[in-house]
């Protein structure tokens, strides 16, 4: 078997016997990091046995260990404010699977909005913020898991710069000393979608609904696989190893059909600055380059994302398309939210789809989910809270 095409809709389920790893000759930053550690120049947050890591292949066939347990959640400053079902679904799965983690207040944004959006930072500032947050995980004895694709891209870049430039290490080390911290670098920079990917078969065991009639289209976030592309998961059984496997992998494992569309590689139109200050560009990009191709070419039931900006941009900008006579609509949610829905998580309390703009109810109905019952229970819960009732949480952080 050289190649086997089983998906009538496209390439997602193409398997290959080969990893075509030939190409650009790059230094493996992981090896250089360990050399610096051996020289005593940096401390490394290592993957330990307790992290129960699962290995995955990256673009050039290098191995990457993805920790699945004893996790420090590095939240996204976009997701938490705007798409709360994203982190909640992730924590829900970790609870379902009996895994340990910490979600706490002692974390800042990666501040990479000030890198890509406004240019009001610099490499020293960005790298110091990264190390500050890495060190917080280090002092708790946990491994950091980054929820945001831009954080993931930024931190991969900062990790590489810190390894390659002594002057930057010295300057960041000086700042860390000033705030009572040390220069530490995680052995691997890991995005939440990589956790979902390596856990996809465990997740699939929790499946409650048949997804065989659901057609999904995947929009991978640029900053996961275009920034430091060599440090991103590829799998020879998904897109034959030609495209990043994350997000597509979990949808396939859950039994959904993952359909291809012609603008898969395009960004979402977020643009950082554009989504706020040149919205016409973002809106046009969403409809013309993403949503319409997904619906017209693939008849997509759901658009699966893996990043804050993409989810927001693709979800919020469909309604305005009607002004141009565009009738195409498709609900947008992160891979982990789609997986949580498939595994029976509550539509309102856990997946929190009520914050989304494009109508997701037809998808729920096609999946066989009774969203009306969920809405009634959620509204009753809101009334309880208004009357002074106690919150029901997935996690309680230690009170200090």
């Amino acid at each position: 078997m050289a190649m086997e095409i089983s998906n009538r809709l496209g390439l997602a389920n193409v398997k290959s016997d080969y990893i075509h790893a030939a190409g650009r000759k790059l230094e493996d930053i992981h090896e250089q990091l360990l050399e610096l550690e051996a020289k005593g120049e940096v401390k490394v947050i290592h993957i330990k046995d307790e992290n129960k890591a699962i290995e995955a292949d990256t673009l050039f066939g290098w191995k990457k260990k993805i920790p699945t347990n004893r996790i420090w959640h590095h939240k996204s400053c976009g997701q938490c404010g705007n798409i709360p079902g994203y982190p909640v679904s992730l924590l829900w799965f970790m609870n379902q699977l009996g895994l340990e983690y910490v979600d706490e207040r002692n974390q800042t944004s990666c501040t990479a909005w000030n890198y890509h959006g406004s240019a009001t930072s610099n490499p020293v500032g960005l790298a110091a913020v990264a190390v500050r947050n890495w060190h917080r995980a280090y002092e708790l004895g946990l491994f950091p898991l980054f929820h945001c694709a831009t954080t993931f891209g930024d931190y991969k870049e900062m990790r590489n710069m810190l390894v390659e430039y002594k002057e930057l290490r010295d300057e960041v080390g000086r700042i860390m000393h000033k705030i009572g911290r040390e220069l530490v670098i995680p052995e691997y920079i890991v995005h939440y979608s990589e956790w979902v990917h390596v856990m996809r078969f465990e997740i699939a065991k929790l499946k409650k609904y048949d997804l065989s009639n659901i057609i999904a289209t995947v929009h991978p976030a640029c900053h996961t696989y275009k920034m430091i592309p060599e440090d991103c998961i590829y799998d020879k059984d998904i897109y034959a190893g030609k495209r990043t496997a994350v997000s597509t992998g979990v949808a396939l494992a859950l039994g959904a059909q993952v359909a291809d569309y012609s603008t898969w590689y395009d960004c979402c139109g977020f643009g950082f600055r554009h989504i706020l200050t040149e919205r016409e560009a973002s809106r046009s990009f969403v409809m013309d380059r993403k949503i319409r191709p997904m619906v017209r070419e693939a008849h997509s039931d759901v658009c699966i994302t893996q990043d804050t900006g993409c989810t927001t941009t693709l979800d919020k900008n469909q309604w305005i398309g009607k002004a141009m006579g565009y009738t195409e609509q498709v609900p947008v949610m992160a891979d982990v939210m789609f997986a949580a829905l498939a595994c029976g998580a509550d539509v309102f309390k856990i997946v929190q789809l009520q914050w989304h703009t494009t109508d997701w109810r037809p998808l729920c109905e096609k999946m066989g989910i009774d969203w009306k019952k969920s809405e009634e229970e959620y509204n009753a819960y809101l009334e309880e809270l208004k009357a002074g009732g106690k919150t029901v949480n997935l996690y309680e952080y230690p009170k200090s």
């Binding site: 996204s76 705007n82 240019a119 009001t120 930057l168 640029c222 275009k226 592309p229 703009t357």
Partner: protein, 225 residues
């Protein structure tokens, strides 16, 4: 900066040379500007190229020309068209990063308080405030119909009973309305120390002095708490 009778800035060539040299001295420059075949694959894949007069191939060619006049032509609106998606960097056969060059040029424009940068960033001040003063970004109370009428009729969901809806999110860190999550003051204080040491506050002062003053008031309050 001097201006002619039509209000067009007259920029001395020495100044333009200074800008190019500042970009060239950035330690990232050698990583981002390598050989170029002029193949144009970066521009072919560039999302904003479809909507703006913007081409990553031109960005790279201008930098490689080392001609301060050509580089100066990009310092106004041109550099702000980039989406920062890094499609160009991923597909470049020579490992160039036009997106990275854009980041360097934008940082120079902001650091030096160019009028074009001030104009472009003005509508961005709320995000800049949240990010710099609180170590956070998009707060739930920012999603209001008045600000996002083009996001459709259901966008108003967040504008009613927001506090109780946030309380119903089963993560205690998220049960706030004015921040994405409830950032601990000690984390904010460390962030301010980083911004002081790395010169981030100074950058914001250069590009938006009034916003800088508001941020400093918040910083002072948190530091004294």
């Amino acid at each position: 900066m001097e201006y002619d009778e039509n209000g067009v800035s007259i920029v001395p060539s020495e100044f333009k040379k200074e800008i190019f040299e500042e970009a060239g001295k950035d330690f990232r420059y050698q990583e981002y500007v390598r050989g170029c075949l002029n193949c144009g694959v970066c521009t072919g894949g560039c999302p904003p190229h479809r909507f703006f007069d913007f081409s990553p191939r031109i960005v790279l060619q201008n930098m490689k020309s080392k001609d301060p006049e050509l580089i100066w032509t990009m310092m106004d609106e041109y550099i702000w068209a980039c989406f920062q998606c890094f499609t160009c960097a991923m597909i470049c056969p020579f490992l160039n990063s036009p997106g990275g060059i854009i980041a360097i040029l934008r940082e120079i424009a902001v650091r030096r308080g160019f009028e074009s940068a001030k104009k472009v960033l003005k509508p961005y001040s709320r995000v800049l405030l949240k990010l710099t003063a609180y170590g956070n970004q998009l707060s739930p109370d920012m999603i209001q119909p008045d600000f996002f009428p083009d996001w459709g009729p259901t966008i108003g969901y967040a504008s009613t009973d927001l506090a109780v809806k946030r309380k119903a999110i089963p993560m205690p860190t998220l049960q706030v309305t004015n921040l994405s999550w409830d950032v601990a003051p000690e984390a904010m204080k460390e962030l301010y120390a980083i911004f002081d040491e790395a010169g981030v506050f100074k950058i914001i002062e250069a590009v938006d002095p009034s916003l800088y003053e508001i941020i400093q008031d918040i910083v002072d309050d948190v530091r004294s708490s």
